[in-house]
């Protein structure tokens, strides 16, 4: 796997951490931790954009964050789940997978061009 995708995964994991932090932070030092995590997260986000298209990385970042927020609402904070929510999540995940596949295809094209 391309190293840039490792940064995509890291930025999404750190994003989930600060979203969780937003929900549970109560005092100033909680918020200090949340802000530190956000800054580390933004660093990983920019590293991912060094070799992947920014549009791809940002759409995945927004999508994964939104799915994470919705899942935390349901499983941790007692929100309700609905079929419609499930459908939008499915669409989102399909979009993320589609972008990953489109990126792989571009790489293959580049390799073929390099050989030719």
């Amino acid at each position: 796997m391309n190293k840039a995708w490792v940064y995509v995964i890291l930025t999404c994991l750190f994003e989930w951490m600060w979203i969780f932090g937003f929900n549970v932070a109560t005092t100033w030092w909680h918020w200090a931790i949340v802000i530190t995590i956000i800054l580390i997260d933004f660093y990983f986000l920019s590293k991912a954009c060094e070799s992947l298209p920014t549009g791809t990385v940002y759409a995945i970042f927004a999508g994964v964050g939104t799915v994470g927020t919705a899942l935390m609402d349901v499983f941790i904070f007692g929100g309700s789940f609905s079929v419609a929510k499930g459908l939008f999540m499915g669409l989102l995940v399909a979009g993320v997978v589609g972008l990953k596949l489109a990126d792989n295809k571009n790489e293959e094209d580049d390799i073929q061009k390099g050989v030719a």
């Binding site: 590293k47 920014t54 940002y58 999508g63 939104t66 399909a94 589609g98 489109a102 295809k105």
Partner: protein, 104 residues
């Protein structure tokens, strides 16, 4: 007033993404300020809009405009791929994000 704030917040988000693109290519202080500042202002304005609008609706519109705008700006001004597979996938994500936020 609420919708005006949401709109300006979405524009700030797009500016933040342009900063992200520039910072990833060239790690200067100026690019970092556009990146972090754009997102910082976007969040501040979005929170301000919650005074006037329902949170889920404001959030859904903001993230929809911002994400779609970020993708389009990168395609037009930074020459990112306009392949059909990419456009369909990005469209699915924008609809998914907006729909999910509208429901929560």
């Amino acid at each position: 007033m609420g919708w005006f704030l949401v709109f300006i917040a979405a524009v700030s988000e797009i500016i933040g993404v342009i900063g992200l693109k520039m910072f990833s290519q060239n790690k200067t202080l100026k690019n970092m300020l556009i990146f972090v500042g754009g997102f910082g202002i976007a969040f501040a304005l979005l929170y301000a809009s919650f005074t006037y609008l329902q949170i889920s609706v404001a959030y859904a519109v903001w993230i929809g405009i911002g994400t779609a705008g970020a993708v389009v700006v990168n395609m037009i001004f930074f020459g990112e791929s306009k392949s059909r597979a990419r456009i369909v996938s990005l469209f699915a994500i924008v609809i998914g994000v907006t729909g999910l936020k509208a429901l929560s």
